[in-house]
């Protein structure tokens, strides 16, 4: 247990260093929120595999490190950023380098009046009323040590505020680029996306890195989807294979809202992606799709929860994984249908393909139903690529590699197809081609 204490003590004892970097901001009421989070953090225990929610996920590779709480400044050119953009996509661009918002690398197209797209640090400085209303309300600090850590160290992240009835046509592409140096460090982006009633917005949350260094990305994203609002969210994670990624996404869905989430990931060394959406009003719809492709000794954990708290809501969840080499994957998806949630439709599916004998997938779909007039289903499959299909392709003259690539494309295609942005679909098709068609 020594190492556990070390990890926590490190962040507690280094808090003064962090406070210094806040530059006099210590007196604001927001800092009070941080300090409360720190005290919660110090009271909680590190999760172990004895905790049900962490059964297959061992954090010991992370906690043995002492990550510098102040990330190094990094030079980055526009050209380097351009490598991560999608061709032919009209978009607003927010760039964060080693956790810090970079105005010089970001650009916004015309936005409707009173829409705000920018950095959380700005919102904090302005004491933005929406920030005070929504921050920490969905991703609560209690019961989640990493969220409490993120809250305690909240400094920057993306802030999107779409007031009632406003529509943002172009997607907002938010890139978090980490450029590690010799020193390992932690970045803790904190994002808040607010789509008020009848609004519409598309956000691409993109985590990536330059070079092959060690860092911890501990991110928290809160999303509010107001009544009848439409929120399309895509998270893309493609990070250094020596990095650690712990992420929590919490979504609050009001009446008749529509939320769609796609998590596409080629992982890190260790990734934990939590996503919870909660129906806080009737008539809502939610789509949670995911695709992860991991190899070597990568570990990836998708941990989702769809909370049907209100009646007449529909949820569709489909996660797929492709694992090579000695990669290990976890899918833990819970669908909760509470007593009030009559007429719920909830469908959940998890399919994984193991491309090697050493790859391991743990799939744990869970349905908890406390209402009696509902339609719910779930299923999970873990298997190899269909050898019969591969043989069929070969008898048509298609070689081993092309046949494998075709079948993997086919497996991944329904997740990718449901992404509404063509440029992003093309980008993902290319990732798959590069990976499996050499």
């Amino acid at each position: 247990m020594m190492s556990n204490k070390d990890f926590k003590e490190w962040f507690i004892s280094n808090y003064k260093t962090f406070e210094k970097s806040l530059n006099g901001e210590k007196t604001t009421s927001f800092h009070q929120i941080r300090k409360e989070a720190l005290s919660k953090f110090s009271e909680m225990n590190l999760p172990t595999t004895k905790d049900e929610e962490w059964k297959y996920t061992n954090i010991s590779p992370i906690i043995k490190h002492n990550f510098s709480v102040i990330p190094p400044k990094a030079d980055l050119s526009t050209e380097e950023v351009n490598n991560f953009l999608f061709d032919k996509l009209e978009h607003h661009l927010l760039v964060f380098v080693n956790g810090e918002f970079r105005n010089d690398l970001s650009r916004l197209n015309d936005l409707p009046s009173s829409v705000e797209v920018g950095s959380l640090s700005d919102a904090i400085k302005k004491n933005h009323p929406a920030l005070m209303k929504h921050f920490g309300k969905y991703a609560e600090d209690s019961h989640n040590l990493f969220t409490a850590l993120n809250s305690a160290y909240t400094k920057d992240g993306a802030f999107v505020f779409v007031p009632k009835g406003k529509i943002i046509e172009d997607a907002i592409h938010i890139i978090f680029i980490n450029k590690p140096t010799q020193d390992k460090f932690v970045t803790q982006p904190r994002n808040l996306f607010i789509a008020e009633d009848n609004s519409k917005v598309t956000v691409i949350e993109h985590y990536t890195s330059i070079g092959d260094g060690v860092y911890l990305n501990n991110t928290v994203t809160e999303m509010f989807v107001g009544e009848n609002a439409i929120f399309d969210h895509i998270k893309l994670q493609e990070e250094s294979k020596k990095s650690f990624h712990i992420s929590r996404m919490e979504v609050d869905q009001e009446r008749s809202s529509n939320f769609s989430s796609h998590l596409i990931s080629t992982g890190a060394e260790f990734s934990r992606n939590e996503c919870t959406t909660r129906f806080n009003g009737s008539g809502g719809e939610s789509t949670l799709n995911g695709l992860f492709m991991i190899d070597d000794e990568q570990f990836f954990d998708a941990h989702t929860m769809i909370d049907h708290a209100k009646p007449h809501c529909n949820s569709y969840e489909h996660y797929k994984g492709i694992l090579q080499d000695k990669a290990r994957g976890v899918f833990n998806g819970k669908v909760m249908v509470r007593p009030d949630a009559q007429k719920t439709n909830a469908f959940q599916e998890n399919n994984s393909i193991l491309l090697s004998d050493d790859a391991v997938m743990n799939s744990k779909p869970q349905l908890e139903i406390f209402a009696d007039d509902v339609k719910c289903s779930h299923g999970a499959t873990v298997g190899k690529l269909d050898e019969e299909a591969k043989f069929y392709l070969k008898t048509r003259g298609i070689g081993e590699e092309a046949a494998t690539a075709m079948l993997i494309h086919a497996f991944a295609s329904d997740v990718i197809k449901s992404i509404r942005i063509e440029a992003l679909r093309d980008y993902l098709e290319e990732i798959i081609s590069k990976r499996f068609n050499q």
Partner: protein, 254 residues
């Protein structure tokens, strides 16, 4: 000689299925291989296509001057061997067009030919789909997914038409077809017959041979060809049934 099978023995999971097959097929010929269930018909088709589960323990297969057993399944296809599957495989997410485009171009690449451009390729698909009365909308659908039995078999012959093989093996292409589908499939095959290619029709029933009239008929029984003859052998077999073979095994000349 396009294909020469010499004393072929093959087994699967330790069971010997083929016990010394001898067969010669020349370009321009249609051979029918008939036999009761379990006689080794589908095993022979699978071995020719290169299915890995089957182990060849003895014998040789020469195809177009090449040792067929040394070629991978994909290289056999690129050399002009085609197997129409008894049970065509469903491949969700791969469209018929995508499969054929990839196949045609991989084959052309192997032969040192230029890849077809999109226009030429679509023209080819359009022309060949007419052969088996296949609706254009099938092209964009996933391979065999949700197809009826008849549609799957027509799709096999459509693929054969597009890939234009030198040697086609039709493994029970007639099984489960209604009479209309059988006629369409057989018409397609007949249009593909030429002096440059050969077709091996593997079937349990004589009926298909009313439509695809073979030059030679071979009867496979217990892993060996026990009788060979002209098209009239099929009729005789139909009339007397496979029991005739079993009862007269002693008289059969190999």
């Amino acid at each position: 000689m396009l294909l020469e099978i010499k004393n072929l023995h093959a087994r699967i999971e330790g069971n010997e299925i083929l016990k010394g097959i001898n067969l010669k097929v020349d370009a321009g010929e249609v051979h029918a291989i008939m036999g009761p269930n379990g006689s080794g018909k589908s095993t022979l088709a699978s071995v020719l296509a290169g299915r890995e589960e089957y182990e060849v323990t003895e014998g040789e297969i020469w195809y177009n001057g090449k040792n067929l057993l040394e070629l991978s399944p994909e290289d056999r296809a690129r050399e002009g061997v085609f197997l129409a599957f008894q049970y065509p495989v469903e491949i969700p997410g791969v469209s018929n067009t995508n499969l054929l485009k990839t196949a045609v171009n991989e084959i052309r690449k192997y032969r040192g030919e230029e890849e077809l451009d999109a226009m030429e390729f679509l023209e080819l698909l359009k022309e060949k789909s007419k052969l088996v009365e296949l609706d254009q909308k099938f092209l964009s659908r996933s391979v065999n997914e949700g197809f009826s039995g008849g549609e799957k078999k027509r799709n096999e012959i459509f693929q054969m038409a597009v890939l234009n093989p030198k040697l086609a093996i039709l493994d029970e292409t007639d099984s489960g077809l209604d009479i209309d589908a059988l006629r369409i499939v057989a018409n397609g095959v007949n249009k593909l017959r030429s002096k440059d290619n050969a077709i091996i029709v593997v079937t349990h029933y004589q009926r298909l041979l009313n439509y695809i009239v073979p030059d030679y008929v071979h009867v496979l029984y217990q892993g060996k060809i026990v009788k060979s003859g002209g098209k009239e052998l099929a009729l005789e077999l139909e009339e007397k049934g496979y029991d005739w073979l079993k009862n007269n095994k002693a008289e059969v000349t190999v």
